[in-house]
């Protein structure tokens, strides 16, 4: 049940960015993911929706191995992540290298509170990717400007609103020049009036053709930016397809019910 099997054949065989195959994840006796498969091509914006406990965040976190899958295959940019029989990454350097290509944005922002916004944004380029410092700073300032925080470069995260922190977190993720961006409920921790500013930044990223996987509760937003929508229910993909079909003509009764409850 890959994305491709249900979509009309692409004009040219677009390169895949992420392949998730038959992913299982259990926490103790609790089975959170029961065989999820997903393919994202370069330039795709995939929205992952579902109720609380459906496994959508866990699935996203398995892609960069923040959670260790119980079983399944994960391929990022045509490189399969090698795993040991117990499911843990076999090669720490490989997983670290792949992680630097995946810009992750968290629900709780997770900025480093002892560093200013500028320091947060240059941290990974300078120390992990070994970009020259002056070059990293110039790029970081441009990114902060882009998310509307040019004047806050020397401010510490704790002095900013949630929306500002999340926009800075997006700048931090962009700073590694990621091939795929992973958004884990980027607006769920925000006050309602701050959601819009973060969504508009993400919308711009979608418009410039970035590959993104977005776990979200914002249905209107998902419908608007996504090329492909995946609805997870109890650890399985219940329904997926282009947004017009998933939102406009849902097949599954569960999805219809879900869409009614979330409005």
């Amino acid at each position: 049940m890959t994305a491709e099997s249900r979509q009309p054949p692409a004009p040219a065989p677009a390169e895949t960015a992420i392949i998730v195959e038959n992913l299982h994840k259990s926490f103790g006796s609790l089975e959170v993911l029961r065989g999820v498969s997903l393919t994202a091509r370069k330039g795709d914006v995939v929205a992952i929706i579902g109720g609380s406990g459906s496994g959508k965040s866990t699935m996203l976190r398995c892609i960069n191995f923040l959670e260790t899958p119980t079983s399944g295959r994960i391929v990022v940019n045509d490189e399969e992540i090698a795993i040991r029989p117990d499911g843990r990454p076999a090669n720490r350097r490989q997983i670290e290298r792949i992680r630097t290509r995946l810009g992750m944005v968290f629900q709780a922002f997770n900025l480093w509170t002892h560093r200013t916004l500028l320091e947060n944004v240059i941290e990974v380029p300078v120390h992990v990717l070994k970009t020259p410092r002056t070059q990293a700073i110039a790029r970081a300032l441009a990114l902060l400007d882009r998310v509307g925080l040019a004047d806050k470069a020397d401010t510490f995260p704790a002095f900013l609103s949630g929306g500002q922190q999340q926009r800075a977190a997006i700048a931090r993720a962009l700073a590694v020049d990621p091939t795929v961006m992973l958004f884990d409920e980027p607006t769920s921790a925000l006050d309602p009036e701050l959601v819009g500013e973060v969504l508009s930044v993400i919308r711009d990223l979608a418009a410039e053709g970035r590959t993104m996987l977005i776990v979200t509760h914002e249905m209107k937003f998902a419908r608007e930016v996504a090329d492909h929508v995946v609805y997870l229910h109890q650890g399985r993909i219940e329904e997926e397809g282009p947004p017009e079909r998933v939102f406009g003509a849902p097949q599954s009764a569960r999805l219809r019910q879900f869409l009614q409850t979330v409005g």
Binding site: L66, R97, F106, A108, N110, H127, V128, P157
Partner: protein, 251 residues
Amino acid sequence: MVEALLDTLGLTKTVELLSLQPPGWGGNLLRGLANSLQIAFGAFGFGLLIGLGGAYGKLYGGPILRDLLTIYTTVIRAVPELVLILILYYVGTDLINQAASAMGYGRVEISGVAAGIWVLGVVQGAYATEVLRGAIQAIPSGQLEAARAFGMPPLMTLRRVTIPAMMGFATPGLANLWLIATKDTALLAIVGFSELTLETRQAAASTRAYFTFFLAAGALYLIVTLFSGVIFGRIEKWARRGQPSLREGNG
């Protein structure tokens, strides 16, 4: 002029006793202080290293390592320090001498400073383990997760995220440990190490001016404490630079 003033205050004798030049004993006291500080520095640093390793072991280590560390911190914190110093000092020197004779060397003269640092460092390490464990646990887990998600290797995460993020939580506890270290050096007098307290006792015994010398030693310990307070205050302010002050409210 100054002499006249001292004379009227009846302090001429005191100044002579504390003079830095013999026959005054001031030089001896300062030498003792320097020895004390040297040991305190070394022991505090050694204790921090043990503490960082111990905290990591307790938080992320396997069951056997965790048990061993629990025994270490429990025993060290349960036994009076004076007793520990005697045990560690004599056991430590005895082990080294046995090793030396086994390898065909004669008795080794163990430097007082090295022995002092080893003994107090092992004691400090047990307390530092608990201080740093608490501080690491106080770091919001998302910050370490972000480091992981961006591909930071473990040692870099320790250096760039864990240590700076925990500093704000650890500084008050570490300041306590440092002050305890400066004063625990006095306990080394029992094994004959000429730190400030032993020097003071010798000066006092030779001159019968107990009050003068112990007051002077007390003043030196106080100066060290006050100075340390300023330094740690600065460190804490720097370590908490990203956090809004509780007093001023959120800016």
